[in-house]
Each structure stands twice: as structure tokens, then as C-alpha cells.
Symmetry: C2
């Protein structure tokens, strides 16, 4: 059932979408430029399993917790990472995005692990051996427990701590990396305030209090779980951390492209006095300034948000929806990318895009539709260097656990065997042809 109000809002939003408007401008060219990155992504904690020294593991296994289940073995990519590279290669991709686990590489403060940095070096070498350009996230949310026990990103020492880790990792790994991002969605807490039900923050508070008690400290703050009131301070430190990390990586290898990945909606304004621009300020504001001058900006888009004069307006119903019942709106990718470039001047890499759904036909349909509009944006002059789908393989989807499926591949929880879904064939064919 589509009610009249939603339909009106939806039509207005569609007309207002830059992607939609651009679509009419010229005949469509399905070919992507040479050297375009076609990739799929994973993140350490979400696929490796047994990341017991991470802030997140502790929070998953404490009572109370906002996590629906613990991460346990994940996809066992700690041991089976070569299978993941084989999957990416077999699909026909030319790049692979993965992350370093800071809790493994610096398991105690200032104590760095050659063994674990060698582990990630083997993954980078494995990418190169398969013709996959490694896009490496230096930190994908999870921080070491010792860092969280010091108040995580609320601690003024956090930026320097992070930069020191990045300097160590870069020293050992930078030579083989294709593109580096410092942080993954450092604006996630701002985003979660919009997409999550408010009661989550109450339960999260109780979880963080329990974690502090279990750790014998006054304050425990995790990479993607902090008190609501800590968001502004944490954001300042994350921005300083990004800049310090970028400098640390560049000090090792000045020619390595370094950026940061932001979580970005396709924010659409409807009606008079839409709060859209105000909300963009809240969701991304300081980051849009901070990334100016970076080699690229990573855009991670999953949905659009329609902003009226009082807040979020419900999206039209009737189309495909994700696991939360939210609309899956293919043009949102191009919309977010257009804005990201316009607001920052940065070249763009889509470092994440996808859909959480157990219906793979939805994902298979979303990919070409979103890429169509992305290509239109590119032909309109937006410099986009690559498209990385989230995710290569079903994984531990944070507080939603394993029920939510983002993967182009599934895995068997007993044998950890990977299996390509039809959507992998869809993206793979586009990647091989370098064209829609």
C-alpha cells in the first residue's frame, strides 16, 4: 500500500534528485573509463572472527549489550583470507578493500606485532598476485581494548595514538597498497542518531557503563559506540586523527593516495523550508572541510533521506526494502556522490554501496541501476575512480549480527566455505566488461 502523502513526497524527491535531473541531459554512455576500480569490501572485525582484543568483542559479550549476537568466528577470514581474494578474483574484480585490525597489530599500547602486520602484508601480496589493487582501511571502527579503556576517541591523546599505529603499519605495508583510507565512517555516530531508534542510545549507555566496570576503568568508549554527548568531542579528535594519520602514511610514501570514507545519505529536500542543508551540516559538516585537499574521498551510501521542514519525511512505499524495512533507492548512490564531490572538490571512490537483504535479486537489480546513475554523474563531470561493493561476503553486521546479509557471497557457518550469489555474477560481468 502506498498512501497519497508518501507518493507526493516521493515524486517531489525524485524530481529534486540531481541524479534524476542529470539523467535527462544526454544519451547514456555505458562504458566506464580505463583503470576504473571494480571492487568488493570487507572489514577485519566483521569477517576475521575471534577479534577478542577489540572494544567491540568486549561489548558484544557483556550484559547488557546492544549487539543482537556476538561475532564469534565471523567468516573465519583470519585463517581463510586467501579464499576471499579468490572470490574477488573469480568474480572478475580488479580491486579488494579490506581493513587492518588495530587490536591485532598493537595489542597493548606501544607494543606492536610484526607477526600480525606480516599477516596483512601477506593479504596485500595475495591481492597483487591476483591482479587486485588493495584498498586498505587503516581502521574500520574497532579499536584495541586498551584504547577504549582510555576513553577511546574522547581522549585528547587519541589522534597521536592512531597516527603512531598508522606510521608502524605504513612502514611495513605502504609499498604494496593501492589506496589507503584512514578511518571508516568516522561520522557514524552522527548517522546512527538519525537511523537508529532513540532507545538504542539508552541501552548503549548501560552497555558502556558495564564495560567500564568490567575493565576497571571510569570510562569505556568504543570505535562505534560512544555516549551521545561525547560525539562532538570525539569528532574533533577523529578529524585530528585522520589528518595525523594521513601525514604519517604520507611520510612513508608520499605518492600513496590517502583519503577517508564517510557514511553519506543522499539527502533530498522536499517542500518549503526543508532542513536538508542544516542536517547535512550535522551529519557531515566538519568532515567536508577536513577532507579538502585529500587525494580522494570515500563515499559509503546505502539510502536516501528525504528532509522536510520538520524532519525526515517517509519515503514512498512499494519498492524494494532492506532488512529494516527501509526503501532501497538505486539513485541514492549517485546523489550522494554528486554532493560529496561538490562539497569537497575531492575525487571520489565509492568505498561502500550495497543492500542488506536476504533477497539477492534485490541486490542484483540494485547494482546496475545504481551504477547507471553513477555513470551519468561521472559523465556530468564528477570524478569517480572506482566502485567497491559492500560486501564481498556475508559478515558480522555489527549490532544486527549475522541475520543481515550484505554479501555477494554467502558462507557456510560450519565449514566457512564461500558460495557466490547471483549478484556476484551481475557485478562481475560489469567489471569484466568495464561497462554496463
Amino acid at each position: 500500500m502506498i498512501d497519497r502523502r508518501s507518493m507526493l513526497a516521493g515524486a517531489a524527491a525524485l524530481a529534486a534528485s540531481p541524479a534524476f535531473a542529470a539523467n535527462k541531459a544526454k544519451p547514456f554512455n555505458p562504458a566506464f573509463p580505463g583503470g576504473f576500480l571494480w571492487g568488493a569490501a570487507t572489514a577485519g572485525h566483521q569477517v576475521e572472527g575471534n577479534n577478542t582484543n577489540s572494544d567491540c568483542w568486549l561489548l558484544e559479550n557483556i550484559k547488557p549489550t546492544v549487539f543482537s549476537e556476538p561475532s564469534r568466528d565471523a567468516a573465519n577470514s583470519l585463517e581463510l583470507w586467501a579464499l576471499d581474494l579468490d572470490c574477488a578474483k573469480a568474480m572478475g574484480l580488479n580491486s579488494y578493500r579490506f581493513s587492518l585490525e588495530w587490536p591485532r597489530i598493537e595489542p597493548e599500547e606501544g607494543l606492536f606485532s610484526l607477526a600480525m602486520v606480516n599477516h596483512y602484508k601477506a593479504i596485500i601480496d595475495g591481492c597483487r598476485a591476483r591482479g587486485l589493487t588493495p584498498i586498505v582501511t587503516f581502521n574500520h571502527y574497532t579499536t584495541p581494548i586498551w584504547f577504549a579503556k582510555r576513553g577511546g576517541w574522547t581522549n585528547p591523546a587519541a589522534p597521536d595514538c592512531f597516527a603512531r599505529f598508522c606510521a608502524f603499519a605504513a612502514k611495513h605495508l605502504a609499498a604494496g597498497i593501492g589506496y589507503a583510507t584512514t578511518l571508516n565512517e568516522p561520522n557514524i555516530m552522527n548517522i546512527l542518531k538519525v537511523v537508529l531508534p532513540p532507545q538504542v542510545f539508552g541501552l548503549q549507555h548501560e552497555m558502556l557503563v558495564a564495560a567500564a566496570k568490567a575493565s576497571g576503568v571510569a570510562k569505556f568508549a568504543a570505535g562505534n559506540a560512544i555516549e551521545e554527548e561525547d560525539i562532538p568531542l570525539s569528532t574533533r579528535h577523529l578529524i585530528a586523527g585522520h589528518k595525523a594519520a594521513r601525514a604519517a602514511i604520507k611520510a612513508v610514501r608520499p605518492d600513496l593516495p590517502v583519503g577517508v570514507s564517510l557514511s553519506m545519505f543522499d539527502d533530498q529536500a522536499v517542500g518549503k523550508n526543508s532542513i536538508r542543508d542544516e542536517m547535512r551540516g550535522k551529519l557531515y559538516g566538519p568532515w567536508l572541510e577536513a577532507v579538502k585537499g585529500d587525494d580522494f574521498l570515500g563515499v559509503q551510501n546505502y539510502e536516501r533521506v528525504i528532509w522536510g521542514d520538520k524532519g525526515r519525511v517517509e519515503a514512498p512505499k512499494g519498492g524494494p526494502v532492506n532488512y529494516m524495512g527501509a526503501e532501497i533507492f538505486a539513485p541514492s548512490l549517485a546523489g550522494s556522490v554528486r554532493f560529496a564531490h561538490q562539497a569537497t572538490g575531492c575525487p571520489i571512490i565509492v568505498t561502500e554501496h550495497g543492500a542488506g537483504t536476504t533477497d539477492d535479486t534485490v541486490r542484483a537489480a540494485l547494482i546496475p541501476a545504481a551504477l547507471h546513475d553513477l555513470k551519468v554523474a561521472m559523465d556530468d563531470g564528477v570524478p569517480v575512480k572506482g566502485y567497491v561493493h559492500w560486501s564481498l561476503v556475508d559478515n558480522f553486521e555489527w549490532i544486527s549480527g549475522y541475520k543481515v546479509k550484505f554479501g555477494l557471497h554467502s558462507f557456510d557457518p560450519a565449514t566457512f566455505e564461500r558460495k557466490a550469489k547471483p549478484s556476484a555474477g551481475v557485478l562481475g560481468a560489469i567489471a569484466r566488461n568495464n561497462a554496463l
Copy 2:
């Protein structure tokens, strides 16, 4: 310099040694029986590295600590275990003793890891592929942090906890195991009271208090670090744990030989009213009863202790010494094995024997000398099924850290490359010939 008192004591001890006495009985036969196990040993925490979820890691990295340095990457055997198997194979051994890391297989209470049990299954399969009989220690000291936070082996629930872990591990692993031991040196705390300077227990107390505070619990007790007054209670639980674990393993595979490894001196009595037998009661007493009926007893011997009427008598000086300056006395192995069999009726596997020394010529000389006397004991009727040297590779030697070298191989701390020492050739030649 050998002072007169030491010489007298030494001579008396030598005459009292069963190994020495037996030596005179018949001509020496250098051939070992067919099927004799020739092995070298490692233990998870000491070689794997980054065992961050273990009681020991926490204690190594807390202040104050009795550990001279943290274990860090160890020999990186978590990733490079195949190199260890290759070393054992290349030496000419026919068995390999290693341990399962309970903190990895059960990282939270009741949460078992298929990924990690598969990891150890791969090692067992790797042994079989190389013709090495796997001798598997189900627990080599280190326990999960959650277990230590519950008071470790002082908790009455500990035996059932351990048996549950063993049942899970056995279900996945028992088919490929050659010999299983439940616990490694569960009498270690009794031994440490004799060999360590008493002030260590004071510092250990402070360390355990700090660990409890950092863990938000009242009592933290580790696998090989507990309060002195907890030793009797802990021993009762360890014995119950051994029995419950043996039953759990046998329930999966009744024909799998199961035993336990004890730390055993060659206790020698000198003079009138020697306290030797009383001390044996304190060091091994309840275990000698507990293991009766086991398929075998693992003996781990490193030294002799000479007991007079008031306590330990200094050993004669002038011979080779270990890293602590203590005598290296080759006949001690046979002495301890003779007593172990006599006291329990069990067949014996020497699951550890070696010397902590940076002078590998000492190790190379010790091996044939000790094996000579061991063979004499065997020819006297002591059923010995195998000899496993400690250690295959230099490792994290607990509170002594990395300075103490027990390995038949060294490893490079930057590349983790293994290199055979001459002593590996000595033991390897004996193993290949199955004869001295």
C-alpha cells in the same frame, strides 16, 4: 671450584641414584624398541604469539608483573606452525607434541570456536601428513581470561568447565591424535615453591591483585600463577579436572591413550633422616595416586634435587649449569622416570626434557647422556614409550621471557625464520637410527 661438602653430597647422591646403580647391572644395549616415539615439544602460548585472551598475556602486561618481558609475537607459530612441523620432520623425529590454546577455542565461557578448533585440526593433519604422531596437550597452563576472572582452578566449577572444553576439542580432534595429555605440570605451583626465590610469591601476589582490579573482579587466578595459600584447593580441582577431562576424551574415543604430564625432579636422599620422601609427597603426592590407571604418565624432568635432613643440599659444582646456574645432571631423567613408574605403575612417556642454555654444546651433550641412562632404565623393565625434547624451538619461557633458550632450533625475531642448532642433529641422528 668444588668445595668439599658439595663433593661429598654429590658422591653420596650419585651412589643413591637408581639410574647410577642400574648402570652397573648389565652390558648396555643402544637400540630402542620399535615404535619408540622420538619427538620435540612446543606449547601454544609459548610459540604462537598474541594470545591476548589468555590469563598469562594479561599478567605479562600488567604492573607489577613477575614476567621479565611480555610474550608478544613469540615464534609466530599461530601463522607459521607448518614451519615447526617441517623442522620436526627434517630432524628425523616421528612425533610432535603441541598444545591447544583453550583461550582461543573457548574465547568466552560456553562460546566455542569452530575456526580455532579447525586451526588445531590442521596442525594434527599436518603432523599425520609428515609421519609425525601428534601428542596433544589439551591445556598447557594458560586459561581463558574469563576462567581466570572466576578464580581459575580455585573455583569449584573449574573441573566441569575444563571437561566441557575437552569434550568439544575431543569431538573435533580426537580422531587424529596419537596421545593426549589433559594438563601440563598441574603440580607446577608445588615445584615453583621449591625452585623459585620466595620473594617471587610476594610480587606474584601484587600482580594478581592488580590483575583482579584491572578485570573488575575480586579474585584473578591464572593457570600457572596463584596465591601460595590456594595451592591445596587448586590441586584438588586440577585432579578432578584431569579425571573429568580424561572421561570426556575417552567418551569420544575410548581407545585414545590419555595421560597427564607432571613436573618431576630426580629426588635424591643423602645422609641420615633425609626429607626426600616427605618432599616427594609434597611435590607429587596426590598426583601419584590420581594417575593410577591412566594409559600413561608424562614425565617432565630438568634437574635433580638432593634432599638432606633439613632441606635441599647444594649439588656438586663444576659441571655444566643452566641459565639459573643450576647443575645440569644427565642421569636425572632416568632417575625421575624410574620413580614415576615405580610410584604409579604407569607406562611412561618423557613429554619434556631439556636444558635452558645459550650453549648448545651443553644440550648436545645432555641428550645422548640422558638417553643412555633412560635406556638402561628401560632395560631394567621400566616401560617408556617415548622421549620428547623440550623444546623444538626457542620460545617464551614464562617469567624468564626470551633470554632463556631451550630450543633445538632458534628463530629470527624479525623474520621468524627457524634455524636448526647442532643439538637438533644429535637428537635427530638418534631418532633416525632408533638407537644411541
